[in-house]
């Protein structure tokens, strides 16, 4: 993965830039000690690292504006950062950039149950948003698996999803408003506690813009009343194809589970060895969760049992208690951890039309043989968002590169069958150079024009999302 060479001119001004940063921020909010900046050298895509020129941790929107104005003035690139859990390299710095972290912006500013929203500073973690309202019977719906660590800032940056988005949607469907600071320091409000935009849907544009259009410091989020109850079932199948067909049938039958999760044999075996959740010995399994009152849950699960029965399930396991429900989820929730124990891996995130599941899983199996790297599949099946995990050995020369080539093949396959490169993790640097597979030059040009409007000097997270060759003339200017 290539990154643009740092600007010698900016590096030469390092002392002056950090001095100016200290003029607008409290001393402890500017980090430029080469040992300390290493804490910001990468995000969740740990294969790529580069310490920034400096990292700053402002505590107010005004401080964010002051930093951006200054960097705008100095022509210094800025990389916004939430909790740094991006799997796409979205928060990866360059040596000539300033990391702007929102970790100190963690306040809840307003909770309003009558109007069902919460307003928070964006450094607050996803889980602690729900934490702030849950005692009163509410929750914030988007629930990425990283929710304990990731911040609302990054969720907005990546338009993150979660296991329950089949029913509740992803971040963009639950975001009502933001306070946005533009690269030149202009502060503006988009949306608010009302439900829709007056003019263009700029809020929709900001969500998922990977820190390239502005820095989000505050967010108004929709909160929902907690359902009366929820219960998962685990269904084991003799093959991936059959499990895929069952997903399609459940959806066609008019049931809308809150989650349908899919795991294939390699993933089942790995998580069993790791978490001992007691999963059945089978080729593929689904975890299907439904919500409602006891009676409603029974009725929906009854239907799902009937549908599953048509697909010869190896096992249909209902949870009779909280503890059994927890055990059903245990394996799924520890899947990434389990794979981590087995070795290094990269986690892909392409989406495909649900109907293409069997074909794509078969092709991935073939690619795995061809490249000699193991793949485990665990993903949100209801919406076709796949997460193939390709295992490699970082200590073996060339293995990461092989792994990346194979990953690219899988993502191309996703696009070929009518899907996309990324369903929830974002493009970052990871999928940047594959954008040409999914988009024609005109499609990318239209997107880059949006950045021209929000950030004419292309200083915000400039080396991301667009193939470097496509964005070069803009970044240089």
């Amino acid at each position: 993965m290539q990154m643009p060479a740092p600007s010698a001119d900016i590096l030469a001004r390092r002392t002056r830039i950090t001095r100016r940063l200290r003029e607008v921020l409290p001393g402890d909010a500017v980090i430029d000690d080469p040992i300390e900046t290493r804490a910001y050298e990468c995000d969740g895509l740990t294969a790529y690292r580069c310490p920034p020129l400096a990292a700053v941790l402002p505590s107010t929107t005004e401080e964010v504006a002051a930093v951006l104005r200054l960097c705008h003035d100095e022509g210094v690139p800025v990389v916004p950062r939430g909790a740094g859990t991006s799997l796409a390299g979205g928060a990866l710095p360059t040596a000539d950039s300033v990391i702007l972290g929102v970790a100190r912006l963690t306040q809840v500013l307003e909770t309003d149950y009558d109007n069902r929203f919460i307003r928070v500073q964006t450094g607050r973690t996803n889980l602690s948003v729900t934490g702030a309202v849950e005692a009163d019977g509410f929750f914030y719906a988007p629930d990425p698996s990283s929710q304990l660590a990731c911040a609302i800032a990054g969720n907005i940056g990546m338009n993150s999803g979660g296991a329950h988005c089949l029913k509740y949607g992803v971040t963009t469907n639950n975001l009502l408003g933001v306070t946005l600071v533009q690269m030149d320091g202009t502060v503006l409000e988009l949306g608010g506690a009302h439900m829709d935009a007056g003019g263009y849907d700029l809020l929709g544009l900001i969500c998922g813009s990977e820190g390239q259009l502005g820095v989000v410091t505050e967010a108004t989020l929709r909160i929902l009343p907690k359902p009366e109850g929820a219960r998962p079932v685990l269904i084991g199948f003799g093959s991936n194809e059959v499990a895929g067909a069952c997903v399609s049938d459940i959806i066609k039958a008019g049931i809308l589970p809150v989650a349908i999760e899919f795991m294939d044999r390699p993933c089942i075996v790995a998580t069993e060895n790791f978490a001992h959740a007691g999963y059945p010995d089978c080729e593929a399994l689904l975890i299907v969760e439904v919500e409602g009152s006891e009676a409603e849950i029974d009725a929906q699960l009854g239907l799902i049992r009937q549908i599953a029965a048509r697909h010869d399930p190896v096992e249909f396991r209902e949870s009779q208690s909280e503890d059994e429900a927890r055990k059903i989820w245990l394996g799924r929730k520890s899947a990434f951890g389990a794979m981590g124990v087995m070795g290094d891996y990269i986690c892909l995130d392409g989406t495909i039309p649900v109907s293409e599941l069997p074909f794509v899983l078969r092709r991935i199996g073939e690619l795995s043989e061809q490249f000699g790297l193991k793949v485990a599949n665990v993903f949100h099946a209801g919406d076709g968002n796949m997460h193939p995990l390709i295992l490699f050995d970082a200590n073996k020369p060339g293995d990461l590169e092989t792994c990346e080539v194979m990953g690219a093949e899988i993502l191309k396959l996703c696009v070929e069958v009518g899907g996309c490169l990324t369903g929830e993790h974002g493009v970052g640097i990871e999928k940047r150079d594959l954008m040409n597979v999914q988009f024609a030059p005109e499609d990318l040009e239209a997107q880059m024009r949006v950045k021209d409007v929000f950030d004419p000097k292309w200083l915000l997270n400039p080396a991301k999302v667009f193939p470097l060759a496509a964005s070069e003339s803009r970044r240089a200017g």
Binding site: N115, F138, G161, G169, T186, M195, Y200, A446, V450
Partner: protein, 378 residues
């Protein structure tokens, strides 16, 4: 074919549309079914999208539909109904309110981000829209999003196109995620609550776990809640709701037929239907708890939807609602008024300077020659 002033052009394909626009020298009003003439477009040619019609892909098992932008909405709804599915956002039909005829198209619905009562829970049109193709003002064909439900590949121009009233490009194809249509529905109605009580009732209802998916207060004093699902579940939730909301008085359950009628009235704002001396109609998007006071200072009749988040106001002709309300959080759109009134008042809410600068910048980039719907959206 070229776009001459005052001519009507009706391309039969996306490629033809692109060619026309590349050679265009004069502005055009983009027309789908012509059923949603909101705002005022400066006179020029007309570009009809009706030639770009037909469902291109419908996969019930994946809950997705793709169709050309000129496809009549009715055709799509019929195809979905045959499979027991529907568009989640219950698109509003503007014909009764605006006194228009013709057949609404998918493109027009998207350009207006037309959404109905279920929006309060299921999201607006923009939330179900997962892909677009459009031709921009330079004649380039642009695609964004696609046919899958989860997609964060690049910027979300899909949302940008929804509700942009044809000012950024001519939509040629749109994709949606769908929902299964439930077998059963129940509507509970309370009578005689004032606006503040009604909004309190609706807020309470929407904060309970029983999945109320429409909450409206009509000008005739009725306050209505709807729940949908399979039958046993609907029965159970209807009872729980009636009990939980007993402090607002007794509710009655509407028959299936009356229920359908009521929600159609709310969706299409038929209590303010056009006709002689029917007055101007404004659409106010606000925080629900602000709605009763704002409606009171507006004067006139009000219909509250989305639990109070959407207020339809019928006011005397020529009223400047924004002047009357002063500063408030949210926005007001003038939906129906005489041509003269629309000349005097901006139909769309003026934006604060930094936001307006972004909007103008986007428009200038997507339509550098100012071809599309000049005069709309500020």
């Amino acid at each position: 074919m070229t776009a001459d002033a005052l001519a009507v052009i009706r391309p039969q394909s996306e490629a033809e549309l692109a060619e026309v626009l590349r050679g265009a020298s004069a502005p055009v009003a983009i027309r789908g079914g012509g059923t949603r003439p909101v705002g005022l477009i400066q006179p020029g040619g007309v570009l009809e999208t009706g030639g770009l019609s037909g469902i291109t892909l419908y996969e019930p098992g994946a809950l997705t539909l793709v169709a050309r932008a000129g496809t009549p909405l009715a055709e799509v709804e019929a195809a979905l109904a045959a499979e027991g599915q529907r568009l989640p956002f219950e698109p509003m039909d503007h014909r009764a309110l605006l006194g228009t005829t013709g057949a609404p198209t998918l493109g027009g619905m998207v350009a207006a981000n037309a959404s109905g009562p279920r929006r309060v829970v299921a999201g607006a049109c923009r939330d179900s829209l997962i892909g677009v193709r459009f031709v921009d003002g330079t004649g380039n064909v642009v695609k964004n999003g696609g046919r899958v439900m989860k997609n964060v590949t690049g910027y979300d121009l899909v949302k940008l196109m929804a509700g942009s009233w044809g000012t950024l490009g001519v939509l040629t194809e749109v994709s949606f995620k769908l929902l299964p249509a439930p077998d059963s529905a129940a509507t509970l109605v309370w009578d005689g609550l004032d606006a503040a009580q009604a909004v309190a009732l609706m807020s309470t209802a929407l904060s309970l776990p029983w999945e109320v998916n429409a909450a409206s207060h009509l000008p005739d004093g009725r306050t209505a809640l709807r729940i949908e699902g399979f039958e046993a579940s609907v029965e159970y939730r209807a009872e729980e709701l009636a009990t939980a909301l007993a402090r607002f008085g007794r509710s009655v359950r509407l028959s299936r037929k009356d229920s359908v009628t009521l929600w159609q009235q709310v969706r299409d704002v038929t209590p303010f239907a056009s006709g002689q001396g029917a007055g101007d109609v404004w659409r106010l998007s606000v925080k629900p708890s602000d709605a009763p006071a704002l409606a009171a200072s507006a004067g006139g009749d009000a219909l509250f939807d989305w639990g109070g988040g959407l207020v339809w106001l019928r006011l005397a002709e020529g009223t400047d609602l924004r002047a009357r309300l002063g500063t408030f959080r949210g926005h007001a759109t003038l939906i129906r008024a005489s041509v003269e009134a629309r000349r005097n008042l901006p139909s769309f809410q003026p934006e604060p300077a930094p936001v307006a600068a972004l909007s103008l910048g986007l428009r200038a980039r997507f339509d550098p020659r100012g071809l599309f719907n000049p005069g709309l959206m500020g």
